[in-house]
């Protein structure tokens, strides 16, 4: 199946790029450096990077940036409209919405990034082993992966979260991260297995074997670098998906539990009051949207730049 492609980088340059890459490129420039140069020329990709960079800063400096505590409620200030004191208003418990949205960035990015990294660290080795050794190992690993893939992902994620019992704080974050990672492991295993299968038969791998290089070294030094471009692209776009899954679980009440601020939860909690307080549901939703958009633009740009073959 081919990857979905969008964005506004002109296709006109893709065939030309595909034709010169990787064989006929100038010796002085690596494909990676060339890809990065292409990346730098794409406005949409840079917008994505800018959004992601700003979000990272907000997440890191949440304690400094947030005007108030995201969990301290002020019963005299419930449902305050946006004002100088509360730029995004307050919720039904009188908590400052801006502070909650700012702190929500942490949860969203932490879960989004760490679940993908976790899935990556389990899925990539599994895929490499399955693809490289083939036979029974391959059959066993891919059967398990296919079983996970056979589930509608929300059904699996929801049941996993009920199994883990959602809680607040760091442990709650770890649980959500774990659930999302499990759902996403097969994506990497499959991707890497496919790449390994095509790389395995190349002459340079045969040469390594003839030289007596150990399997582990071949896998990490020679096979992995050749599968890196699709892994990087899938990871970036995967963060966007994971953030949506996290928000959705929270929306269903199965993400991190209050008082830990989470955009999905805030949106759900405030939907009940949108008749008179529309902004309460609007801001957490916008925050989710902007974050996901940032990672999607970033990932799309990377795909166009690093792996023209993926188109």
């Amino acid at each position: 199946m081919r990857e979905i492609r969008g964005g506004s980088v002109g296709e006109a340059e893709i065939p030309a790029v595909a034709a010169v890459w990787p064989e006929a490129r100038p010796r002085s420039e690596s494909p990676f450096a060339e890809g990065m140069r292409r990346f730098g020329r794409s406005t949409t990709a840079l917008v994505g990077v800018a959004i992601v960079a700003v979000l990272l800063v907000v997440a890191l400096l949440a304690d400094v940036l947030a005007p108030q505590s995201p969990i301290t409620s002020d019963q005299t200030q419930t449902f305050a409209r946006p004002s100088w004191d509360h730029p995004l208003g307050t919720d039904q418990l009188g908590r400052d919405m801006l502070s909650r949205v700012i702190h929500g960035t942490r949860i969203s990015l932490m879960v989004g990034v760490s679940s993908v990294v976790l899935a990556l660290f389990v899925g990539v080795p599994l895929g490499m082993i399955a693809g490289f050794y083939g036979g029974r190992v391959d059959l066993l690993v891919m059967r398990v992966m296919d079983l996970i893939l056979a589930f509608p992902i929300y059904l699996l994620a929801v049941i996993l979260m009920v199994m883990f019992t959602p809680t607040a704080g760091l442990i709650g974050i770890v649980k959500v991260t774990g659930a999302i990672a499990i759902v996403r492991i097969p994506i990497y295993a499959r991707l890497v297995r496919g790449s390994v299968l095509s790389v395995r038969e190349k002459e340079y791998i045969e040469a390594c074997r003839a030289l007596g290089v150990r399997d582990g070294w071949i896998l990490f030094r020679h096979v992995l670098p050749n599968c890196l471009a699709p892994i990087i692209v899938t990871t970036t776009l995967g963060i966007a998906t994971s953030i949506i899954v996290e928000a959705t679980l929270s929306f269903l009440g199965l993400g991190t539990q209050p008082p830990t601020p989470s955009w999905g939860w805030d949106l759900k909690a405030n939907v009940a009051f949108i008749q008179d307080n529309a902004w309460l549901a609007l801001f957490p939703g916008l925050a989710i949207f902007v974050t996901v958009l940032g990672f999607n633009l970033f990932g799309d740009g990377l795909r166009d730049a690093l792996d023209p073959r993926l188109k």
Partner: protein
């Protein structure tokens, strides 16, 4: 062909068995069980044991699964532990709601994606293309529930409440009881926002996909040939190019069904619809084992059945693809 269909139908069975088995084991590994919830404050260890024995919950998990399967093949989906109602009838009551939602949202997705994808590809690098791709980019980045909330803000609150924010009016002929609201117009009003909320994200994905596969197809030699023999632009695009470009789109649509079922949980929750999605999530959270099994079964079945239909669609779109 008949042999192929038969073989595929048989191949569905292990997948469905595996999914239901995994759900079965996972649900029973959750600490606590529905009996605790059922008894509530009146909980005593003896009562709990008695009820567990009555529902066979004291048996080993695999034995319970085999018993469940055995009843299933005789058409008995079991009864809810908490409400006592038979699971099959509950599922059948809720199925039309979710089916309507999913079909309509797929319709919404296609109605948006086909023209948008075509325009994007045929008018590549024009403002029309940029608009289509930008809107699609926004579409893939908004979660269903936020689109739902935006629709609520506009149509239920902003425009004086022209569309209802929650609840359901049944299509004529699908009302499960004597007391529900039945009307075609009322149904349309209730299903419109949920279907759009669920469909827009899919539309965006399909638009991006269709655009890129059209761009590829439009450069192939048979399209050049079709143009060279003097065919007009319309038949070239619609008959020669689009049909071939639709193949990957159909594949992805099949894959999206899994997301649609999950999305139905979210959208039905937001709009308080009495569908399978709310049934499933409520059952999972309440650990109503029998209901969860019913939900897993119907979900797994829908999932494999639609992927099967997708494979059959290939033969229609591309006669070269044949199944022996």
């Amino acid at each position: 062909m008949r042999v192929y269909i038969l073989r595929r139908l048989l191949e569905m069975i292990p997948t469905i068995l595996m999914i239901t088995l995994v759900v079965f084991v996972m649900m029973r590994s959750i600490p606590g069980d529905p009996v605790v919830a059922l008894l509530g404050d009146a909980y005593t260890e003896e009562d709990a044991e008695r009820i567990r024995a009555a529902y066979g919950l004291d048996q080993p998990v695999l034995v319970q699964y085999v018993i469940w399967l055995g009843k299933l093949v005789r058409g008995d989906w079991g009864a809810s532990i908490l409400s006592g109602r038979p699971v099959l009838s509950d599922v059948l009551v809720r199925l039309p709601v979710t089916l309507e939602l999913i079909l309509l949202s797929m319709g919404v997705a296609l109605v948006i994606a086909i023209p948008a994808g075509l325009i994007g590809a045929l008018r590549q690098n024009t403002w029309a293309d940029y608009t289509a791709t930008s809107v699609a980019m926004i579409g893939v980045s908004i979660p269903e529930f936020f689109i739902g909330v935006l629709l609520l803000l506009v149509f239920s609150i902003g425009l004086g409440g022209i569309l209802p924010s929650s609840g359901w009016v049944y299509l004529p002929g699908t009302c499960p009881t004597m007391v529900c609201g039945v009307s075609l117009w009322g149904n349309a009003q209730h299903v419109l926002m949920p279907a759009i909320a669920l469909g827009v994200g899919r539309a965006a994905i399909l638009t991006r996909l269709l655009r890129s596969s059209m761009l590829e197809v439009i450069r192939t030699e048979y399209v050049t040939t079709a143009r060279a023999k003097g065919l007009g632009e319309r038949p070239v695009v619609l008959k020669h190019a689009l049909k071939n470009a639709l193949i990957p789109t159909v594949t992805v649509m099949g894959l999206q069904v899994g997301f649609l079922i999950g999305g139905a949980i979210v959208v039905e929750t937001l709009f308080a619809m009495p569908g399978l999605g709310t049934f499933g999530i409520d059952a999972i959270i309440a650990r109503d084992y029998q209901q969860v099994q019913g939900f897993a079964l119907i979900t797994a079945f829908a999932f494999v059945a639609i992927n099967f239909l997708v494979d059959l669609t290939y033969t229609v779109l591309d006669p070269r693809i044949r199944y022996a």
